[in-house]
């Protein structure tokens, strides 16, 4: 019995490790290829680790593709949009979970329904609205339309429902104003939620492609994703440079995740993804 159990647990671990290796191959192979020379990349059979360590691909990106400007644009968009999203989602979650106003149910259901009606199908009218607001070919034109997120709102509502009414009740009895209740009681209790929303929102905005594709025209306003997608078509660019671009494109959200991993995982299990 004990022997069987131990065998089972070892078997499970082996399965997990195998699956993890398969999952990691694309990222690992992209990373390793980004440090290969152009000649090695096109040689057969392909090598798993670079034979000659080279930064040729990275050099090309930084020298020929206006990369620092693109990096700045993407950071600007992702950070500002994330700040807006986190702020408005926490407030909205509080309003819906702990508020009592007319039409609450209808508004919140409409908001959450939008998870199915994303930019992919509303790009024509969204484009027209952005155009009317004079935000075409402007970084704000990709920040503002993405600030409201249905998933973020939903996660926030679920988290706020988990906060006990008693905190609010006793503050109310002590004579706290509505704003004081939010800023001194609710907000400090929402750090794990804020961590979850920050990581999600930053990851989403960093990876946005469809919105920049229709809004941005000039290459000095490109974001990383737009840059990566269009350079592949336009230039005679080699694979090590494309892989270098890809690696640099995964790095920021990954670093953010590694920094906040503990808080993020706690936030998720504390109700962030409790549906």
């Amino acid at each position: 019995m004990l022997y069987k159990r131990r065998f089972q647990s070892v078997l499970f671990k082996v399965i997990i490790i195998l699956l993890a290796v398969i999952f990691m191959i694309p990222i690992f192979y992209a990373m390793s290829s980004s440090f290969k020379t152009n000649a090695e990349i096109y040689s057969y059979p392909p090598t798993f680790l670079p034979k000659v360590f080279s930064v040729e691909g990275y050099q090309y990106i930084f020298q020929s593709l206006n990369f620092l400007r693109v990096l700045y644009n993407t950071l600007f968009v992702s950070i500002i949009a994330t700040v807006i999203t986190v702020t408005i989602s926490i407030m909205a979650g509080y309003a819906i979970a702990k508020g009592n106003f007319k039409g609450k149910k209808m508004i919140s259901n409409l908001m959450i329904m939008m998870v199915f009606v994303s930019i992919g199908v509303t790009l024509v009218p969204v484009f027209i609205i952005i155009k009317e607001m004079n935000l075409l070919n402007n970084l704000w034109g990709i920040i503002l339309p993405a600030a409201f997120t249905p998933t973020g709102t939903f996660i926030s509502i679920q988290y706020m429902k988990g906060i006990s009414d008693e905190f609010i009740e006793s503050a109310k009895i002590d004579g706290a104003t509505e704003w004081q209740i939010f800023s001194r009681i609710i907000f400090p209790l929402s750090y794990p939620l804020a961590a979850v929303l920050t990581i999600f929102s930053f990851t989403w905005r960093w990876g946005d492609f469809i919105l920049p594709l229709i809004v941005i025209n000039s290459s000095n306003l490109y974001t990383m994703q737009l840059g990566l997608a269009t350079t592949q078509g336009q230039y005679l660019i080699s694979w090590n440079a494309i892989m270098a671009y890809s690696v640099l494109s995964i790095a920021p959200p990954l670093i953010l995740f590694l920094i906040f991993q503990k808080l993020f995982m706690r936030g998720i299990t504390a109700g962030g993804l409790k549906f």
Binding site: Y44, A92, V117, P125, V126, L144, E178
Partner: protein, 297 residues
């Protein structure tokens, strides 16, 4: 007397709950301008013929009539369904298996959870680029392995069905870790005592899963299904990057078709009409999903 005290109680309750609409206003403005108003605008435009630069011409329901005879439109709808049919079941099974293997707390599982979660953080353009390269005909890793094994290379992304399969795998790869986290959260809500009791009664792991875990996981399963459908329904980034919808229209999902109509053919009115139908289908799915998933808040 009774009514009066009820009123006092009600007022007190109201004081504690508060109105708090004011906290919803910022979110509500963004929602209205960029999510709700577009739904009205798109319906209006769908009755016009417009190339974005010239004047708009009212054509009534002509765009909708055109759509019903447009084989490409029906084709892209079929592609969307095929894509969902490949992505959703694989994602569901894979993320459930991963969650079952990793939901018990511990150093090992927390490290490996992160590994599976990582691909979710890769932007779709990046994962599309990497996977397209892995499966490219001449320099791809997969074909090199096939050749090493003495098999002939396959033109993965040049064939309709194989291309859709590769795109689906890329989508699954990006999504499974996220869905795994949702399953893990669901599993953690199941009280340990149930499993322990069954285990003492002599139930094996499979029986425990079949009769205890699975029924209690129903709500979570529905959420995972809903989100997997939603996240792959409208996002054409992978197709745009990996195949640009080709060969022909064989990997063009409806949202990519809308993009092509609007921004390469400049048939804005017609693109809007296709959007209206797609949005109606999306809202239909959303209503069913929200009902079955008890998603109302």
């Amino acid at each position: 007397m009774l009514g009066e005290s009820n009123n006092v109680l009600k007022r007190k309750k109201f004081d504690i709950i508060g109105n708090r609409f004011v906290f919803l206003i910022p979110s509500f403005i963004f929602f209205t301008v960029f999510a709700f108003i577009p739904l009205i605008v798109v319906v209006v435009i769908s009755f016009f013929s417009w190339n974005l630069l010239g004047p708009m011409k009212f054509v009534g329901i002509e765009n909708f009539i055109d759509m019903f005879t447009d084989a490409n439109f029906w084709g892209t709808l079929m592609v969307t369904l095929k894509f969902e049919a490949m992505v959703v079941p694989i994602t569901f099974v894979l993320s459930l298996v991963l969650a079952l293997l990793l939901y018990k707390e511990g150093k090992f599982s927390s490290v490996f959870r992160a590994f599976f979660y990582w691909p979710y953080m890769a932007p779709a353009v990046v994962s599309g680029t990497i996977w397209a390269w892995l499966f490219s005909t001449n320099t791809g890793l997969i074909n090199s392995i096939l050749m090493k094994l003495g098999l002939s290379p396959i033109s993965w992304l040049q064939g309709g069905l194989t291309a859709l399969l590769v795109i689906s795998l890329t989508q699954v790869w990006g999504m499974a870790g996220f869905m795994m986290m949702i399953f893990i959260t669901g599993l953690e809500q199941i009280p340990m005592e149930f499993e322990e009791a069954a285990s003492i009664d002599g139930a094996n792991k499979l029986q425990i899963f079949r009769h205890i875990t699975w029924p209690l996981l129903k709500g979570t399963s529905i959420i995972v299904l809903i989100l997997s459908i939603a996240y792959s329904w409208n996002n054409f980034t992978l197709m745009y990057v990996m195949t640009t919808g080709g060969p022909g229209y064989e990997t063009t999902i409806t949202s990519l078709y809308i993009y092509q109509l609007a921004f390469t053919q400049f048939r804005i009115g017609y693109a809007a009409a296709v959007s209206v139908i797609t949005i109606l289908i999306s809202i239909g799915i959303a209503m069913v999903a929200m009902k079955t998933g008890r998603w109302e808040v």
